[in-house]
Symmetry: C2
């Protein structure tokens, strides 16, 4: 499944076209180098993202959405939009849940 | 984010109405007791799933989708449908990726 937070943000960012690794890091606040590398590898392994290395000096590497990744875009953007729309409500539930759990411990 | 495999399957199963823990285990092949318990707790903490304990003998506990969880349903079902539709294609990419990676190691 590819609905995890970082996959959603990477696929959403790649919707705008091929992008370099460094630009991906800048476009996704909070993602660690390790998590970006791991998630890109997971997405590449599933055929949702492609990696193209150009034989230039200095070498240029770009990540992009092939048709399979693009076919997931609408769903991923809907998931991201839902999360953004309900973030405050979810945070409220989480705070209430944590307070209740703390009292019961 | 709630797009992980088990959250998607749990929310999809709860779409049919309140359900007991044991029936959830039966309805989601392959989910371990530990993963079901953890994922239900994660979903409850975010306000996407409710847990109701009925003071009966023997005690009855049911899980259900409150409005917040129900509002995510269309997106979750779209994600599940996309995954089912593209499972073979993804498996193919994974096999090719693993074979290529093995050769390069």
């Amino acid at each position: 499944m590819v609905g995890d937070k970082w996959s959603v943000l990477i696929i959403g960012t790649l919707a705008e076209g091929p992008i370099r690794y460094s630009d991906l890091t800048a476009a996704i606040p909070g993602i660690s180098q390790r998590m970006l590398t791991l998630t890109l590898k997971h997405l590449r392994r599933s055929g949702l993202v492609t990696r193209t290395a150009y034989a230039e000096v200095p070498p240029r590497v770009e990540y992009a959405l092939p048709p399979l990744g693009a076919s997931l875009l609408d769903t991923v953007l809907a998931l991201a939009a839902w999360s953004a729309d309900h973030q405050a409500e979810i945070r409220h539930h989480q705070a209430t849940f944590d307070a209740t759990t703390a009292r019961n411990d």
